[in-house]
């Protein structure tokens, strides 16, 4: 439940204000380790488009550059029907399908990577889709932005997981996963959702009249939800962590990190007036 993370944030903020806590730049008393491990960032959706898998490597905690790219890998996606989609390296570390393809709900996709003599695999089944019914908005006086409200029927039966992205005038607002909202249907199963604020926690968008906002709703696998929850927990760690720091569990074999998953997408657009 995303709200729980928020509660902890609120508590942390209040304690910080009240108890004059302070923060300062420091260095960690750690032994850095420069092991290079493969990191996978890949998703296949039911949108017809070139599907992308990014490969990079882990690095020193104190490095000041972009993560090193994993180049020269052999990357293939296959489905449970025997279809095979080889990917090519368009720019260093970015592997894409040569043609537009669309994943199919219910199919299981297997990613196979051959990199520097090692083979890594991951599997994901594309979950069922839930449609966005409609969108609306309200003005938030305090944050001076419009809030986007989502209306949708959550399908009957527990086990659906969602992730939302926002774009304004065709440009992605939720540029990294720390800004995306993720939630499972544990507490809302089968309900009609009457105005969920999909930009609930990130408040810096400044959505104004005239903006065209598109909400992309991804139905994601449980594995992906756990991964994102783990990432968010790490990302927010520090002040009031809800769990001890730990490596985010990946679904890639052979010790690689990251996530490959299949997700079904549904979209709606609204013009703020």
């Amino acid at each position: 439940m995303k709200t729980l993370e928020c509660i902890f944030k609120i508590i942390a903020v209040i304690l910080t204000i009240l108890l004059v806590s302070c923060e300062e730049l420091t260095e960690l008393p750690i032994n850095d380790n420069d092991t290079k491990t493969l990191v996978v960032d890949g998703m296949i959706t039911n949108d017809t488009m070139p599907q992308v898998v990014n490969l990079s490597l882990t690095g020193s905690f104190y490095m000041e550059n972009e993560a090193p790219r994993a180049t020269g890998a052999e990357v293939t996606i296959t489905d449970n029907l025997g279809n095979e989609f080889p990917l090519y390296e368009s720019i260093p570390g970015k592997y894409v399908t040569p043609t537009n393809i669309a994943g199919i709900i219910g199919n299981t996709y297997t990613l196979t990577i051959n990199y520097e003599g090692e083979t890594y695999t991951a599997q994901s089944t594309m979950p069922r889709m839930a449609d966005i019914d409609s969108l609306s908005f309200r003005w938030d006086n305090f944050m001076e932005t419009h809030r986007i409200l989502l209306f949708a029927q959550e399908p009957e039966g527990k086990g659906d997981n969602y992730m939302w992205q926002l774009s304004r005038n065709g440009e992605l607002l939720t540029t990294d996963i720390s800004q995306m909202m993720i939630v499972n249907d544990e507490f809302v199963d089968g309900n009609y959702i009457k105005g969920l604020e999909v930009d609930f926690w990130e408040m810096e968008y400044n959505i104004l009249a005239g903006d065209t906002i598109t909400v992309m709703q991804y139905s994601i696998s449980k594995r992906a939800l756990d991964f994102f929850a783990g990432v968010l927990s790490e990302y927010n760690s520090g002040q009031v962590a809800m769990r001890p720091p730990a490596n985010v569990a990946s679904n890639i074999s052979n010790g690689a990190m990251g996530l490959f998953h299949a997700a079904s997408a549904s979209r709606k657009t609204i013009i703020i007036e």
Binding site: L4, C22, L28, I30, S60, F61, I177, S178
Partner: protein, 778 residues
């Protein structure tokens, strides 16, 4: 096993009958009280010069001592009180009720003549400390709030969980392995305001005793320690009030006789007003926030006869945090205790207790479709009977029984308002019975050796109506089990042997040793780095085995300078089984399958503790140094390799000094030093979806910088006017006097200019925190 239990029950039954029929031997017995207030004195000493024997009063101020008929010189003494001498010709059983005068006779004129000459060395009890409320009150306190739990952290073997935390960690035991009892009621959460203050109002407390080892058989249910707090009974002589106005809270205590020398009451309240300052804010969004706590202690007692006395005590405390209309969070403890002291005959003191204890929290979220209330609570009903049988001058036998009914409501969510998209949801409630039988004997063997041996048998039963899950070796659910109302679906039990001995040597020195086994059937999910009240208590179950510990300790005790300087060295080893920790990435909140995220293993701890305590004179205080290690090894965590517990603090120093410059001015200081807390820090990083994610190696593989801090305080008593009873004093204190920026936690953020660079920030909670408190009494 069954036969042992049957024998134990039989033994206790025999003891009862034997005790009740015992021929009354000659001897003395009675109560020892404070002459001015009528408060019972706990641990006061009665000593017979001719025989060299003595005893101390129990928690109700009662003592009983068997002696042959004859003429004796009897001495009664207590720390901070004038010693009294009696000459008695004892022919039968003699009731000798004693009142001792406080040595603080007139304002500030400290003429301490009372003493407890060599209790420290002679008593069989080891690994145990008693803190007088005078001491607790004289210590520099954070924001001027006298804090019992924080004072305990200054003792050897007791460490804090971190800045601004009320939980204690005793000899490598976790925070939930301490039994904290207020008038025999379990207090499940000792934190106010996320742990910055503890729930105990020092004005209402009479006595604090901590047992870190050599646990007496009458205590059980937790592995590592018992903190036994006793509330004041209330002044039975005259009406009196004490109070204080502080930087963060105000306190007021009123007490007095309901019927002089027969019944008395005390009522003590405290409330913080930090949030009242928020009202001054012009911004309504700030003004509408609330953050406060209050607590109320109340107690009354009635003496029916010399043999019967009844006590009623209650505690009620609550924290509330509210952010506008959107978010609220509240939590608190409630306890109620009824006790009946009955003296069957001069040899048999008994006490019967009924206790109710409750801890609950509530979270309310009011945000459109995300509107819900979330509640959780734990509730106990307890019945106890405890007997002390003063058999003769060599043997003091204790025995008793207790039964507890626990109710757990681990979490319940209710959607709120018509717009809420949240379904009602609740985790399965659980109920359990916890019983115990115990007996022990403190036996003097000659002049030098005293033994205390005992055994406790505890039994835990999970009872329906409830449900539980069966898991396979991969922690996947294989079955959901439902249990009908009243059905006992899980039983766990065992014997807990307890043993302690003291061997006195010439020249005010002694050697002590102890062994104890303890068993624990309830535990808490302590995971968050801050002490939030959301840590839920959960019971042993088909999936969670009872925790078990064996502790061995030995020590050397010696008093110097005519018993004004007490010193001790103790070593211990503690072996703990069925210890729990959560797997990486565990989901703890509102997770019906939480048990599947638990991993079980072993923990062990060892250490050596040094203590020097100067108890008398203008200059008092103590120095304690502890060296210790606390390890855990749990399959499925840290690749199954041993790792230091999160509260492993090898070096721990406390220095407490107090100096009476003149009768009206007292200054004190304390300095603490602890090895930095173990912490899991990243050894590398990677990027995913636009964010940088740390890579970790070993659990608790690094340490934060060492923690140290100096606090100062001065107490100045205003001049008392003879015609008025009003007495005031000012307390000035400084927390963290040399501005040590102790690391509370680390956080990582991307550098604004270079998104690929990770900056590390350390959070420290306090700079220098000065505070002023005005205390009064009349």
């Amino acid at each position: 096993m069954q036969t042992i239990i049957t024998r134990l029950s039989f033994l206790i039954f025999c003891l009862c009958s034997f005790a009740l029929m015992a021929e009354t031997q000659t001897g003395i017995n009675g109560h020892i009280k404070d002459a001015a207030t009528g408060e019972d004195l706990i641990g006061a000493t009665i000593y017979i010069s001719e025989t060299g024997t003595g005893t101390t009063t129990n928690v109700y101020g009662y003592y009983s001592l068997a002696i042959e008929p004859g003429k004796y010189n009897i001495r009664a003494s207590f720390m901070g009180y004038e010693t009294k001498h009696f000459e008695l010709n004892i022919v039968s059983t003699h009731v000798l009720n004693i009142e001792l005068e406080s040595a603080y006779k007139q304002l500030g004129e400290i003429t301490i003549t009372g003493d407890r000459p060599d209790e420290h060395v002679k008593q069989v009890r080891m690994s145990s400390n008693n803190l007088s409320m005078e001491t607790v009150k004289s210590l520099p306190a954070f924001m001027g709030e006298t804090d019992v739990m924080k004072s305990l952290m200054l003792l050897p073997g007791v460490s804090s969980g971190g800045e601004g935390s009320s939980g204690i960690f005793v000899r490598g035991g976790n925070v939930d392995q301490n039994l904290v009892q207020l008038d025999e009621a379990t207090v499940y959460n000792v934190s106010h305001l996320m742990g910055f203050f503890s729930v105990f109002n020092a004005d209402a407390i009479k006595d604090v005793q901590i047992y870190k080892g050599g646990m007496p058989a009458n205590y059980g249910g937790r592995l590592s320690s018992v903190v036994d707090l006793r509330m004041k009974d209330g002044n039975s002589r005259k009406f009196a009030a004490t109070g204080g106005i502080g930087s963060i809270s105000s306190r007021l205590t009123v007490e007095g006789p309901l019927q002089k020398n027969v019944s008395s009451f005390i009522l003590s309240g405290r409330r913080t007003y930090a949030d009242l300052f928020l009202l001054l804010a012009s911004d309504s969004l700030i003004r509408n926030n609330q953050l406060f706590f209050y607590d109320l202690n109340t107690k009354a007692n009635y003496r029916f006869s010399d043999k019967d006395r009844v006590f009623f005590s209650g505690y009620f405390g609550r924290d509330l945090l509210r952010v506008n209309e959107e978010f609220k969070m509240g939590w608190g403890n409630e306890t109620a205790t009824v006790r009946w002291n009955h003296i069957f005959n001069s040899r048999i003191f008994s006490n019967f207790t009924l206790v109710y204890s409750n801890f609950d929290y509530l979270l309310g979220f009011n945000y459109g479709v995300n509107s819900f209330d979330w509640i959780s609570d734990i509730r106990d009903y307890t019945g106890k009977a405890d007997f002390t049988f003063y058999l003769n001058s060599q043997n003091t036998i204790k025995f008793g029984a207790q039964s507890q009914y626990h109710q757990f409501n681990p979490g319940q969510v209710k959607g709120k308002g018509s717009n809420s998209g949240i379904n009602d949801f609740s985790l399965s409630r659980q109920n359990a019975l916890e019983h115990a039988l115990y007996t022990s004997n403190e036996q003097k063997l000659g002049d030098a050796l005293t033994l205390e041996y005992g055994v406790r048998y505890s039994l835990f039963q999970s009872i329906g109506e409830s449900s539980s899950y069966a898991f396979n070796e991969n922690y996947d659910v294989t079955d959901t089990l439902h249990f009908g109302k009243g059905e006992i679906y899980h039983t766990d039990h065992g014997l807990e042997p307890r043993l302690a001995l003291v061997y006195s040597l010439e020249g005010n020195q002694s050697i002590k040793a102890s062994y104890n086994r303890t068993r624990q059937y309830l535990q808490q999910t302590n995971v968050s780095t801050a002490g939030t009240p959301l840590d839920v208590w959960f019971p042993a179950s088909p999936n969670v085995k009872a925790q078990k510990a064996d502790q061995w300790a030995a020590g050397y005790f010696r008093n110097f300078l005519n018993n004004t300087l007490e010193s001790s060295v103790e070593v211990y080893y503690k072996d703990m089984k069925n210890q729990l920790d959560f797997r990486d990435g565990a989901n703890i909140l509102l997770n019906p399958l939480m048990e599947a995220d638990l991993r079980v293993g072993d923990a062990w701890a060892y250490g050596v503790e040094f203590m020097f305590n100067k108890t008398k004179g203008d200059f008092t205080g103590w120095f304690s140094y502890t060296w210790s290690k606390a390890w855990q090894q749990i399959d499925g965590i840290n690749q199954g390799e041993k790792y230091p517990a999160a509260f492993d603090r090898p070096h721990d120093i406390s220095l407490v000094l107090s100096y009476a410059i003149n009768p009206r001015l007292n200054i004190s200081a304390n300095w603490v030093y602890q090895t930095g807390k173990p912490v899991t820090l990243p050894v590398g990083r990677y990027e995913y979806g636009g964010v940088v994610i740390p890579v970790y190696a070993n659990r608790n593989g690094s340490r934060m910088p060492d923690y140290h801090r100096l606090d100062l305080s001065a107490t100045w008593q205003t001049r008392k006017r003879p015609e008025r009873s009003w007495q005031g004093s000012w307390n000035f204190s400084i927390y963290n006097a040399y501005y040590r920026k102790n690391t509370f936690s680390y956080s990582f953020r991307q550098n604004e200019a270079n998104q690929h660079q990770t900056d590390v920030y350390k959070l420290y909670l306090f700079g220098i925190v000065p505070s002023v408190t005005y205390n009064f009494s009349f």
